[in-house]
Symmetry: none
Subunit: 261 residues, 2 copies
């Protein structure tokens, strides 16, 4: 269960410190230990410690960062808990499927320490922008007439499903074969750097809809996040983007003064 313990839980913009404590307890009873806090409004705080009960060690060990990217920069698999239906559809796993998906990924060699599950602020959950950093949205099946789980309850259910998925698997599986480095998942930084260059490319290609310039990039981001790009695929795609950009720049340079090539 060592791998289970390494999966990181990331709370974004948490407003009630009591919830942070309840989350720590919800994690520890299921065997998770890595808590990352993005811009907590109050932390450390006596209420967090009170609610954490015997999970105060998770609070002491919590990483506090001031932006989401810092929280997940080295992550290869990112999932976001979100009950809300979005204008932008995002690949979805129910909580039980998510536990199973993560367990299978780890069994296949995915480093559990580079898996993160994100939880948004209490009032509105994850923003679309935050969700777009996720490979999958996790949905907890709930009463359609009142589906708003308290933050720590949502963490509890997902950590419970993670524990059950890993319990099922424990010791029954052969050790994973080492992953061929060529097929290793890309880390988040590499993906973001590719997406930035891709955005530059489509901007220069002049195919954006002026009324909704961000929509195209959102759709591309959604596609490439879903595909869970591998490190070598990033190299290939970066190579293509570079070739297109180089060609664009030659075109732009040439008609202006033709002085060099």
């Amino acid at each position: 269960m060592k791998q289970l313990s390494q999966i990181r839980i990331v709370l974004i913009d948490t407003t009630h410190p009591g919830n942070i404590g309840s989350v720590a307890r919800a994690m520890k009873v299921m065997g998770l230990t890595r808590l990352v806090l993005v811009r907590p409004r109050y932390f450390p705080d006596a209420k967090a410690s009170a609610m954490a009960s015997s999970a105060a060690d998770l609070l002491t060990g919590a990483e506090v960062v001031d932006n989401l990217d810092a929280a997940i920069a080295d992550c290869q698999l990112v999932l976001g808990a979100s009950a809300r239906s979005r204008t932008l559809e995002w690949p979805m796993l129910a909580a039980r499927q998510a536990g199973e998906h993560i367990r299978q990924a780890v069994q296949a060699g995915q480093d559990a320490g580079r898996i993160a599950v994100l939880f948004g602020t209490e009032s509105v959950g994850l923003s679309n922008d935050q969700l777009q950093r996720c490979h999958f949205r996790i949905e907890i099946p709930a009463n359609p007439e009142y589906s708003s789980l308290n933050l720590s309850q949502a963490v509890q259910v997902i950590c419970y499903e993670l524990r059950l998925a890993f319990l099922d698997a424990v010791d029954s599986s052969p050790p994973a074969e080492p992953t061929d480095p060529a097929y290793a998942p890309a880390d988040k930084q590499a993906v973001e750097s590719f997406l930035q260059r891709l955005q530059q490319m489509i901007t220069e290609l002049d195919i954006l809809n002026p009324a909704q310039p961000m929509l195209l990039m959102q759709r591309l981001r959604r596609l490439f996040m879903r595909a869970r790009l591998e490190a070598s695929e990033i190299s290939i795609l970066q190579g293509i983007v570079s070739a297109v950009l180089a060609q664009q720049h030659r075109r732009k340079d040439k008609p202006a003064d033709k002085q060099q090539d």
Copy 2:
């Protein structure tokens, strides 16, 4: 799901009113509505209402009784949530099995309104005497080194399992895929036609390795097949490829005669 809503949750000797409110919310988000309180230390209480959020109706409708027998007098199936191992061994169901067991009982004709799940006081859980009023003990799998779930977290997990068990029974279909036609999977012809144009594009970009010209396209095909492209994504990708090809063709035309721009 009407039957699910009738299963009663019984809290015994609850000392923290905030927990009662959290339990109400945990129940309602999973579609349960019947809360029975045995000797609550503080109730009604502002903290209970605050934690209940939009589940305040469950607090208003809660039955308050002064002994356990009154709470379950008419019950035909009683289960007790208990993490502690007892001197007295008791028939045990893990939370998931308990959901399944209850669902099967209801399907076999058991009146859901006469099923109760008991939760003991926060500090020590159910007493042996209380447990002996149960047909089964329910255990939530937890970290053996720290297995003490907060009361409302325990209620959340068990109500979640109940909901899933009843959902499975009601309609066994997986969660619906997005039905928006914009997100429909592309057909095979559309994918192949895109991949052909992509191959043309990278060939003209002149980035193929002459020793292994097919390798790059193989990797791209693997990536895009894995992603299971949607119809609208094909359109987007075709649009990008067209823009790049158009630019390439302008470049090729231009150096030859420079007559137009």
